[in-house]
């Protein structure tokens, strides 16, 4: 239903409070989506790329009429459900990304970033920084991720490879991700023949697993999640991490790869900001990190949906 590149969002106003409707409208405005507000019946006539609807307090079942909308009326549409259920924190992606549940008291910021993820999945050519997404992940880079194999392979997994340079080089001198062939780098990881200056981040949705290979070089690799203990971990070898590791992945995980350690004076502020942004998901974290980096540094962010 996307017309001339503009996203259409249908908002089923039933059960949505006026205050929340205002937040939804603001989120649609920020993402430049064409929003239509009305009853589900009206929206079935107009159609939409994304249906935003609400679940009543205490409800945990996705109503059939919503499912019918995204499976029969608009088979390509995604469903964003605003829930009043504390167990949805901060958001949950179901049915291969077709259904996204957003936790209680969703504001414009939250809805906007979820819309970004859905938009990335249906329109990967929205430009640098807009991100790419599959049913299981969302990824974005401050420089183009155009060379990402998307969807990465037949299992929907994602591999990012980074040329980190050698110890002693300036962080700004390291290369952006896309100069390497991720698939080839992953094979090298498995055969233990990876170049010492290469970092690899691999997410396998089928196994729900991260594979990390990060040498002791200036690059930085963080794992951030509001549902992990600790919420922020440093997985890069240069910061006392494991260097090479497999660890279980979980919905809400956000991996942040930086070309080098952030400036000492901004690190504390950045970390504090990240903790707050984690509950908004990968796009918000990406914005926060991008804004704090020098112009010649790069960042890549991957969110597990």
């Amino acid at each position: 239903m996307t017309t001339f590149g503009r996203l259409t969002v249908g908002v089923a106003t039933h059960l949505v409070s006026e205050a929340t409707l205002a937040e939804v409208a603001e989120a649609c405005r920020r993402i430049d989506a064409e929003a239509t507000f009305g009853s589900l019946e009206q929206l079935q006539v107009s159609g939409a790329d994304i249906l935003i609807a609400a679940l009543g307090a205490g409800r945990r079942l996705v109503p059939d009429e919503y499912l019918s909308f995204v499976s029969r009326c608009c088979p390509e549409a995604s469903l964003l459900l605003l829930c009043e259920e504390a167990l949805v924190r901060p958001f949950v992606s179901l049915s291969e990304g077709r259904v996204t549940l957003v936790g209680p008291n969703a504001d414009a910021e939250t809805i906007y970033h979820r819309l970004r993820v859905l938009l990335a999945e249906r329109a990967p050519a929205y430009g640098s920084g807009a991100g790419q997404a599959s049913a299981s992940w969302w990824a974005a880079g401050s420089r183009s991720l155009a060379h990402l194999p998307a969807p990465a392979d037949e299992h929907g997994s994602l591999t990012l490879a980074f040329e980190l340079g050698f110890a002693g080089e300036l962080a700004s001198a390291v290369s952006p991700a896309h100069t390497l062939d991720p698939k080839r780098c992953l094979e090298q990881v498995f055969s233990n023949s990876l170049d010492v200056g290469t970092g690899v981040l691999h997410f396998a949705p089928a196994e729900q697993e991260w594979l990390v290979c990060w040498p002791n070089l200036p690059g930085t690799l963080w794992l951030l999640s509001p549902l992990r203990l600790p919420p922020l971990s440093d997985l890069s070898g240069s910061h006392g991490g494991r260097g090479r590791a497999r660890l279980p992945a979980a919905s809400g995980d956000i991996a942040i790869a930086l070309s080098g350690p952030p400036r000492e004076d901004s690190t504390r502020e950045l970390l504090r900001g990240l903790a707050a942004k984690a509950s908004f998901g990968g796009p918000a974290v990406f914005d926060a990190v991008s804004a704090s980096l020098p112009s010649d540094a790069w960042v890549s962010v991957v969110e597990v949906r």
Partner: protein, 596 residues
């Protein structure tokens, strides 16, 4: 074009929706069952081609479902794909079942589910053809033996009859002499099915009940609803007393010619539950009379209203309606039970009060259809929803103490899907937190107290909420077994964990073991449900050994937290007595699993 029938057995709405979105347009006809009992009933009604089975169900385990399906020849060959969070590691538990096809993880992707189901379907087609052939051969072989047994004596007469044959045509002659109507009748009798057993986990058919000559018998129902049992009796046309025991309750139903006409129990308190207006009218009854009526009900099952009416303490004009209303409620509870034992005895003369006030109450699967003067409920309504609808029409049901606080009842999430709730009911459900009294909830719900209290009462009555006095609630919360932790990272571990634990429906206290010189003594004192120890703090293995050897802390869950660089020590710590070794950064879901 229809590919086949898929039976999905899982109480998770998420999995249902996932399956729903996995198979559109593939030709699969999908049935859903939320429990093992429901699944077995569905499988008998429409035999599936493939079963997608969750390992953990509300009423039984996946292995139980496999066993019950394998005992029924109609479903014994249906291939079963098992879903489990432990993935293929549980496959050995199912190896004994010929119908077990494969095991997939949970959660699985749509592609994995589709692939497993398709593979199972293909394998099932082959084995089904073979099974049919085997089954057909066995049936024919058995039939041939039966026919031979009947004809053997007749064949023995052939030498004698040869002398009489003479010039007659042999075929008509022997047919006339041997295939007498009596012999053909015996052959047909021999080929008819044997009566089915009544008890055990297989639903008795109405025919089986009719064939039970005993005037009294007992049995049990597991894996299929009590409603089916009542349907069987209904079809059998028998008159008598059926006693059903379930969930610690006993309900007595009187049947006349197969119809349930009267329902009672021997527990006056339970009998009166949910009938505040009627109970209020008993306030003027002398205490001795009330006690005597209750005693009689406990001894004989005669409802206390019958006794009170006979003594002039309850209006006779209203008696039939009250008895019918109470009986319906008891029956609603009973037919919802997934497991029960029952006993039956034929009664030629029903008790006088049953004869006088008994009204027809017929049962149908998932619905009850009452007498002609009642409005028949729509067939799509669940029994629970019907109970709620009825309570909505009554004034407040359960009397509520002014200091009652409310929390979600156990099994809330699986129960709530049976209900179609009003806006206010949903708001109230979202607001209960186990600490707030009804009047405060009304303020938060922005609704009058007079409206919110009845809502709370009926939500308690239908089992979605439970009420407790504020003091009891506080006391039970303070008694909740805490989680003990020895973790030096306050900001990265303890603080966020505390926040996450407080967000649970039933918050769990986190006790810091830092500074404790004697961990064992602290654990004995606090009796926690689990102890989380950071292995980097030193002496973790020794602490685990000491805790494991202490008799005072049985069943304690011991968890080691490892820094990433210590991951290789996990097996060593498990050997020392830890139940689990978790490597940072730990998903909160792992902790939640331990706490739950």
């Amino acid at each position: 074009m229809s590919r086949g029938r898929l039976l999905v057995i899982d109480d998770s709405p998420t999995v249902r929706k996932l399956v729903e979105l996995t198979f559109p347009g593939t030709g699969w006809q999908i049935d859903y069952a939320g429990s093992g009992g429901e699944a077995l009933q569905l499988a008998k009604q429409a035999v599936p081609d493939v079963v997608l089975l969750d390992f953990m169900l509300p009423d039984m385990r996946g292995t139980d479902v496999c066993e019950l399906l394998s005992k029924d020849e109609r479903t014994a060959y249906v291939p079963i794909v098992v879903m489990s969070g432990k993935g293929p590691s549980i496959a050995p538990m199912f190896k004994e079942f010929a119908s077990f096809a494969s095991c997939i993880g949970k959660p699985s992707t749509s592609a994995q589910i589709r692939s497993a189901v398709d593979a199972a379907f293909e394998s099932g087609q082959g084995s089904r053809r073979a099974d049919r052939a085997r089954s057909s051969f066995k049936q024919r072989e058995a039939a041939a033996k039966l026919v031979y047994a009947v004809l053997r004596d007749a064949f023995g007469q052939i030498p004698r009859l040869m002398a009489e044959l003479g010039e007659a045509a042999p075929a008509p002659f022997f047919a006339k002499k041997l295939l007498t109507p009596e012999l053909v009748g015996r052959m047909l009798d021999a080929l008819s099915l044997e009566p089915e057993p009544v008890s055990a986990a297989v639903a008795p058919s109405a025919r089986a009940l009719a064939l039970v000559d005993d005037s009294s018998f007992h049995g049990s129902v597991t894996g299929w609803p009590v409603a089916s049992l009542l349907s069987c009796f209904e079809s059998s046309g028998r008159t008598g007393e059926l006693t059903i025991a379930f969930d610690g309750k006993v309900t007595i139903a009187y049947l006349r010619a197969g119809e349930v006409i009267f329902v009672t129990n021997r527990d006056p308190k339970e009998y009166l539950r949910g009938s505040l207006p009627t109970v209020a009218r008993l306030g003027t009854v002398p205490r001795e009379a009330l006690r005597a009526a209750e005693k009689l009900q406990r001894e004989t099952g005669t409802p206390l209203f019958v006794t009170l009416a006979a003594a002039g303490f309850f209006p006779l004009a209203e008696l039939t309606e009250v008895l019918r209303s109470r009986g319906r409620r008891l029956l609603l509870d009973a037919v919802e039970a997934s497991a029960a034992s029952f006993s039956w005895r034929d009664v030629t003369a029903l008790p006088a009060h049953v004869e006088a006030h008994g009204r027809h109450v017929s049962t149908a699967r998932n619905t009850l259809v009452f007498g002609a003067d009642d409005e028949a409920p729509p067939a799509s309504l669940s029994l629970k929803q019907m109970a709620l609808e009825r309570l909505r029409q009554e004034p407040a049901a359960t009397p509520l103490a002014s200091d009652s606080v409310f929390s979600r009842a156990p099994g809330f999430s699986s129960q709530v899907r049976h209900f179609d709730l009003t806006g206010l009911e949903r708001r109230v459900l979202a607001l209960v937190d186990g600490q707030t009294a009804g009047d405060e909830l009304a303020v938060r719900a922005a609704s009058p107290v007079a409206e919110v209290l009845p809502v709370l009462a009926r939500l308690v009555d239908v089992g979605l909420l439970r009420a407790a006095h504020a003091s009891e609630s506080h006391s039970s919360r303070s008694k909740a077994r805490p989680l003990m932790i020895l973790e030096p990272d306050m900001t990265g571990f303890q603080a966020p964990l505390t926040a996450l634990l407080q967000n649970r429906a039933e918050p769990v206290a986190l006790l810091d073991l830092a500074g404790e010189t004697d961990v064992l003594a602290a654990v004995k004192r606090a009796q926690p449900r689990a102890v989380i120890l950071n292995a980097a703090s030193g002496g973790a293995a020794e602490t685990a050994r000491r805790l494991r050897s202490a008799a005072e802390v049985p069943g304690l869950v011991l968890v080691a937290v490892l820094e990433p660089q210590m991951a290789s020590q996990a097996s060593e710590l498990i050997a020392a007595g830890f139940d689990k070794a978790l490597v940072k950064p730990i998903p909160y879901s792992e902790i939640e699993r331990l706490v739950s």
